[in-house]
Symmetry: D2
Subunit: 364 residues, 4 copies
Amino acid sequence: MPGELGLLRAGIIGATGVVGQQFMVALQKHPWFEIVALAASERSAGRPYGQAIKDAKTGARRWYADEEPSDKILGIPVELADALEGRCDIIFSAVESDQARELEPRFAKTTPVISTASTFRMEPDTPMIIPGVNNDHVKLLDYQRKNRGWKGFILPQPNCTTIGLATTLKPLYQQFGLKLVIMTSLQALSGAGRSPGVGGMDILDNVIPFIPNEEEKVQRETQKILGAYCGTGVEPARFPVSCTCTRVNVMDGHTEAVFASTEKPVSVEAARRAFAEYDGGLAEAGLPSAPRHSIVVRDEPDRPQPRLDRNAEGGMATVVGRLRPDSALENGIKYVLVSHNTKMGAAKGAVLLAELLAKQGWLG
Amino acid sequence: MPGELGLLRAGIIGATGVVGQQFMVALQKHPWFEIVALAASERSAGRPYGQAIKDAKTGARRWYADEEPSDKILGIPVELADALEGRCDIIFSAVESDQARELEPRFAKTTPVISTASTFRMEPDTPMIIPGVNNDHVKLLDYQRKNRGWKGFILPQPNCTTIGLATTLKPLYQQFGLKLVIMTSLQALSGAGRSPGVGGMDILDNVIPFIPNEEEKVQRETQKILGAYCGTGVEPARFPVSCTCTRVNVMDGHTEAVFASTEKPVSVEAARRAFAEYDGGLAEAGLPSAPRHSIVVRDEPDRPQPRLDRNAEGGMATVVGRLRPDSALENGIKYVLVSHNTKMGAAKGAVLLAELLAKQGWLG
Amino acid sequence: MPGELGLLRAGIIGATGVVGQQFMVALQKHPWFEIVALAASERSAGRPYGQAIKDAKTGARRWYADEEPSDKILGIPVELADALEGRCDIIFSAVESDQARELEPRFAKTTPVISTASTFRMEPDTPMIIPGVNNDHVKLLDYQRKNRGWKGFILPQPNCTTIGLATTLKPLYQQFGLKLVIMTSLQALSGAGRSPGVGGMDILDNVIPFIPNEEEKVQRETQKILGAYCGTGVEPARFPVSCTCTRVNVMDGHTEAVFASTEKPVSVEAARRAFAEYDGGLAEAGLPSAPRHSIVVRDEPDRPQPRLDRNAEGGMATVVGRLRPDSALENGIKYVLVSHNTKMGAAKGAVLLAELLAKQGWLG
Amino acid sequence: MPGELGLLRAGIIGATGVVGQQFMVALQKHPWFEIVALAASERSAGRPYGQAIKDAKTGARRWYADEEPSDKILGIPVELADALEGRCDIIFSAVESDQARELEPRFAKTTPVISTASTFRMEPDTPMIIPGVNNDHVKLLDYQRKNRGWKGFILPQPNCTTIGLATTLKPLYQQFGLKLVIMTSLQALSGAGRSPGVGGMDILDNVIPFIPNEEEKVQRETQKILGAYCGTGVEPARFPVSCTCTRVNVMDGHTEAVFASTEKPVSVEAARRAFAEYDGGLAEAGLPSAPRHSIVVRDEPDRPQPRLDRNAEGGMATVVGRLRPDSALENGIKYVLVSHNTKMGAAKGAVLLAELLAKQGWLG
C-alpha cells in the first residue's frame, strides 16, 4: 500500500511545458507521491524552477496552470533528463513525441515511465490504459518488460480526445456490442498547448476543422483500448470508428458528438442506465484522484457544455447528455459528451494511472 | 424579363428584425426590385424606419447588418402588415413562425410571398427550393395555387443549416446515390438572431450542443429538397439523415462535418470533381445574386474555416474541404463544409430565389 | 456574536436573477446565516425554487452561478416579496432599481436590508460601505433610522466598478492625498446580467464603449465612499474623478486603468507599499468572507489580468499591478487593477457587509 | 504626376510577414505602383511567393490578409533583400526593428524607403508623418538626405496606436491648444502580428494590460507628430501624454479612451465641429487611398465600436464618439476613438504616405 513505506519519489521530464506544469499541480499535494526531481532542456537546466520559467525579456512567469506552484516546487533545481536516472520510483514524462522516443526507453530500463506522448501508444507490447475502462490491460506490462529486457516499463496515456470517447463507448460495447461509431469533436485550445499553440487571430470568430494526426489517433486508440488483452498484446476491437476533429474557441473541455450503431437493440433508457450505472472498478479502489463516477449523465436538453461541465468530478468524469435514438443507423443511438482534456485527458489522468499502478504494486 | 417593365415592387414584413434588415441590404441597390413598403409590429408602425429602429432608452440605432441602410430606407414609413395588401409584386416575409401562419396566407391570396419562416416548409403542396439545387420543384407552385385558390403563393426558404448540406449532397446523390448521411453542425450566432439571441455569457469559452428543433428540420428538409417533384407534391429522398446541431462562438458561417455513404463506390477524386464541376443551372440564368459556382472546393488541409470562407462568392457559395474516404462506412466519404447562414442561408438566398422566379415569369 | 444564538434568518428578494443566485451561493453554506425565504415576481411565485428556474420551453435549468445550488435551496418555495415581512433577521435585495424603490423601504420599517440596487446609494442619510475601506460610515445608519422612523435600515452595496477603484484609492488618499483621478474601465459581461445582458453577437470581436449611467455612478460613489462621516451624512471627498467605462469580452472581472495625481509626492515604491500594507481592519475582524488582504500587488509586468487574477483571495481582493510614475500629472502615479465584479463586487461583497454588521451587533 | 511616366516600381522587404502581405493587398491593384520585387529571409528566398508561404508540414497557405493575393503575386520569385538594390522607385519595408536598422540605410543610399518599423522614428533628422495631419514635416527629408549623404531617404510610419490619437488631437491642438492628454487603449490582436502573436489561450476571456514599449512609443510619437518643423528637425509638442495600453480580444481596430485638457475653453459642440470639419488637405490632393474625411464623428451613444467602425472610409478614417465634457480637468474634454490598426495604422497608411510623396515629386 502506497504511503506505508513513505512517499513514492516522482520525477517529471519536460517540466517547463504546459503538461509538465499540470503534472506538478496534480502531484504537489499528493498523498502518495513526492516530486523529487524536474528535468527540462539545456536552456532551462541549472536554475531553480522558478527562475527557469521566467520570461527573459519581460520577466513574466510562464506558468500555465490555474493552481499556483508551491514555493517548494519553485525552488527545485531543473536538471537535464539524464541526471534523473536511478533517483525516482516513477517518471512522469511530458516531452514531445520525438524526445520521448529517445528518452523514455532509457529510463524504462530501470524505472516505470508514464507518458503523455503518443510515441509508444501503438506498440504491440505496450498497453494503453484509461483507469476504470480497461484496467486489465495492465498485465501486458509484464510481457513488455520481458520482451524488452526492462526492469521498468513505458505506459502511455491515450490521446485526450480518445479518453471521453472510449470511456462512454465502454458500457455500450459491454452491454450492446458496437457495429459502427462516428464522431465529430469540438476541441479546446488547451489541447494544442502553448508554444505556439493556436493563435488568438486564428481562432477568434472561427473554427479550425483540422488537427494534424488527431483523427487517426482517436480511431486507432479507441479500438485498442476497447480491445482484448491476449498475453502478448491487445486484439483491437473490431467496430470501425470514423472521426472529424475540429478546434473551437474554448479554453478547456473537448465536446464530442457521437453517433453509434450497436449489435443489439438499445433504447435511450437502456443506454442512459448503462452510462449512469457504469462502474469500471475505480470507486472501490480508493485512488485519490479517481472520480466517484467515470460517467455523469445530464438530462437537461442543452447539456453537456464545456464551460459548465468540464470540471465535473474534479475534471475526471466524462459528462454525457443529449441521448437520443438515431433512426438513420441500425440500432442507432446518439449523444454528446464533454471531457476535460487537461485533467482526465492529460496529467491528472496520468497521475490516476500511476495511483492504479501503485495500488496494484507495480511501483517501488 | 425583369426590369423591362420597370422595377418589381417589393414589400418586407418583419422589417425591424435581423432578417428583415438583411432583406433591405440585399434589395436596396437591386437592379430588379425596389422596396416600396415596410411592415412591422404595432410598436414600430407609424414612424419612419430610421426612427422605428432607435432604442428608446439609449438612442442607439438597432441596425444589425454590416452594410449601412440608405437614407431612402431610413425614411420609409413603417406600416402594419395589412396595409401592404395589393401594393407589392412580391412580399419578403421575415416574421416568426406563428405570425407567418397567420399573415402569409392572407398575402398569398393576391401576391407571391417568399418567407424565411419554417411554417409552410413541410406542407405537401408547397415546394422548398434552393436555387441551383432543385429549381424544378418550382412547378409545384401551380398546384399550390390551384389547391388553395390563391393568385399568389407561399415559397419558404429552407433552414440555413439545410442549405449547405443539401447543396453539397446534390452532386453526390446525382452521381453516386446516397444510402446514409450523418452530420454535426457548428453553427454561428447570427443563426439565432438578436432578440434575445445567444447571450454573450452563454457562449464565451463554450459550446451549446442544442438548437431547438434544428436537427429535425435539417433531416426532413434535406430529404424534401433532394426529393422528386411528382405533380401534387414532392416524394422525399429515401436516404436517412442524422444530425447533431451545436452553437459555437462564431459570428456568421455554419460549419458542418458530413459523413456520407453512397450507393455506388466513390473515390475522393470523383467526389472532388462532382463538387467542383457541379452546375445547377444558376450561372447561365443570369441572376444578379447568383454565385458563379454553387460549390467551391478548397484543397488546403485546414479549410474551410467560417471566418475565411463564409464570404466566398459573396456569401452565396458553399465551400467544401477536408474531403477524405470514410472507411467506417460502405462507400464512405467525409468532408467539411462552410456556408453563410445569413447570406445564402437567409435573406440574400431568398432574394436569389425571387430572382429565379422573376426570370421564369412567376412575378408581376 | 453571530452563531451563539443560532443562525441569523436571511431572506432573498429577486431570487431568480443572476445576483439573487449569487446570494444563494454565498449563503448556502454560510456559518452565520441561513436562507429561510426566497421571493421573486408573480411569474415565479408559488413553486419550489427548482421549478421556478426551469425554462418553460426547453426544460433547461436557468442557474447562472458556477457553484451548484443545494437540494435544500431547490426545494424552498418561491414567495411574493410581501410574504417575507417579519420573518427574517436580514433581507438581501437583488431586485432592479425601480422595484427597490418600492420594496426596500417597506422591509426597512422592521428589518435590515442590504441591497445591490443603486436606488438609495446617494441618499444623504444613507451610507454606502465597502468593508475594509470605510467601515466607520456604518454609524450613519443610526441617523437613517431616526430620520425615517425605521427599526431596520437600507444599506446599499456600491457599484461593482466603484469597489475596485475606491479600494485602491483609499491607501493613496490616506497617505498622499488625491488631487485628480482618471479611470478607464474594461468591464466584464457578467456586470450586465443575463436578461437580456450583452448579446453574443454584440460583443464577439468587439468592445462596447458605453455602459448607461455607469460613469456617473463611479464618479459620485467613489467620492462618497472616500468622504467623511459627519453625523447626519457623508461629506464627499473633494478630488474629481473622471471615467470612461467600456464593456469587453470577458466573463468576470473588471479591469481598470487608473491615473492619479496626489497631493504629496509619491514614489512607485511608496505607492506599492501603501497598497501591499493596506489594512482596513478586515483581517482581525474574523469575518468568514473577508480576504486576508483587501489589495494584492502583482509585480509581473503583464498583470493583473482578469482571467488570472479575478479569483485572488476568493474573488474578494482587488489585484493591482503595472504601478508606474505618471510624469504627465503632478505627483502622478498610474496602475491597473482587477476586481471580481460578481464576488466582492456584488453578492459575496454584500454578504461580507452583512457579516460586518452582524459582528458589530446591527442584526438580530 | 504619377502614372504619366508609367507605374512606379515598388519593392517589398519582409514580404512573407503579416505587414508585408498587407502591403501586397494595398498595392496589387494600385493605379500608381507596381510590385516588381519581393524580399524575405533566406528560408523563403529562391522560390515563387506562393511556394514560400506554404506551410512545410501541413501544406496550408500562410496568407493573413482578407483579400486574396493575385496569381501574379503568387508567381513573383522571393529574393534576398540585397538583390533589390537599384531596381525599385520605392521600397516598402515590413521587417522587424533590428533588421530595419541594418537594411533600410543600405537601400536609402539610392532609394526612398517607407518603413513600418520603429527603428528610425525618433531620429532627429527623420520626419514621422501621418498624411493629413503633419504633411509639412516632409520637408525634413531634404535635411535627412543632406545629413546622411543619401539619394533616397527613410520615412517611418508611426505606431498604429499613435495614429488615431494624433489624428484626433490635431484639430483640438490647432484650435484650442493642449495642456494634457491621458489615454487608455484597448488594442486589437492584429497589432501583435502572428509569429507568434497573442496566443488564443492568453486572450480568451481575458485582457492583457501590457504591450511592451507601446506606451513610450505613443507618448513620444504623438509629441513629435504634433511638433513643429524647424529646418533640421522637429520641435516636439510640449503637452504631456500619458498612456496605458492593453490588449483585448478583438481582431482589428484599436479603441482608445482619451481625456484631454485644452489651453482655451472648449465646448462639446466646438470639439465636435473641430473633428467633423477637420481637413488636413488630404481630400483635395487626389490620393487614391485617402479617406474623404480623416475623422468621422458618430453621435450614437454607444459608438465607436471596433467591429462596426474600423472599416469607416476603407479603414482609413479615425472614428470618434462619446464626446463629453470632462469636469475633472481644466477645459476638459473626453472621447473614444477607433482606428484601423492594419489599414490606416500599417501598410495601407504607408501606401497613402507613398502616394503623398509621389504627388509631391519625391519619388522617381
